[in-house]
Symmetry: C2
Subunit: 113 residues, 2 copies
DNA sequence: AATTCATATGAATGTTTGTTCATATGTTCA
DNA sequence: TGAACATATGAACAAACATTCATATGAATT
């Protein structure tokens, strides 16, 4: 760690004061981390078209049921999606509109290049 | 991979048709992945208050110069930040307003709980 | 009750990744 | 030109992670 330059001290203090808390920033990073995987993004993109059962997701993504289920559990733990059972099947959907909005923001950023 | 249920086939096809391309989704995941680290989020949050040199960031984050520089290079490679040199120092700033917007969206989601 | 279908989950494995340490590059100033 | 300062970068290492395989749970159907 470098020594602090006196003339920088107040910039540092002021920036620190205006930034969100460490706790908020840590949680924010955790949320983005969950979005930061191709399989999970594909799941979220699919669910933003409407709820879907696990086997549909497997077919759509052309991935094993196990791999999909593991990622669904990550998404669920992060409260990005929710589930409901209907008979033997589980239907998953985005937890709230906010999730779709975050996804769209990211996609828009990529598309605008 | 499970067998495709005939009654699901059209849902799958329709969802597939409405989803962004694989390429877009992959790039989107890559972008979110870059946001998905505490150190990088802290850097972005600091830079959203204004441009800052590397040593300021080190002091503010209380991290080694090397660790900060490595993450700055990740952020730069992903075109989330840009840099300019002023004498011996490098000043970093958010690449465009879009980056700040994505960050805010994530922070808001965390704060609203 | 037993079988089948749909999904979840634990352990193992190979890969990715963030930090550290050591060192290189580039700039200023004497 | 040489010393000092600011930043970048390569290699190494430990920790985190995504998928696979095997198996468990849970619901429907016979």
């Amino acid at each position: 760690m470098a020594d602090i330059h006196p003339e920088h001290a107040h910039i540092i203090e002021q920036t620190k004061a205006n930034m969100p808390s460490e706790e908020i920033l840590e949680k924010t990073a955790e949320v983005f981390k969950v979005f930061g995987d191709k399989t999970r993004i594909r799941i979220l993109a699919a669910l933003s078209e409407g709820e879907m059962c696990v086997c549909c997701l497997c077919d759509l993504l052309e991935m094993s049921q196990s791999a999909v289920s593991h990622q669904l559990s990550v998404l669920k733990a992060a409260r990005l999606i929710k589930s409901r059972r209907e008979g033997k099947q589980m239907y998953y959907s985005l937890d709230d509109a906010h999730i779709g909005a975050i996804l769209c923001t990211g996609i828009s950023h990529v598309e605008e290049d």
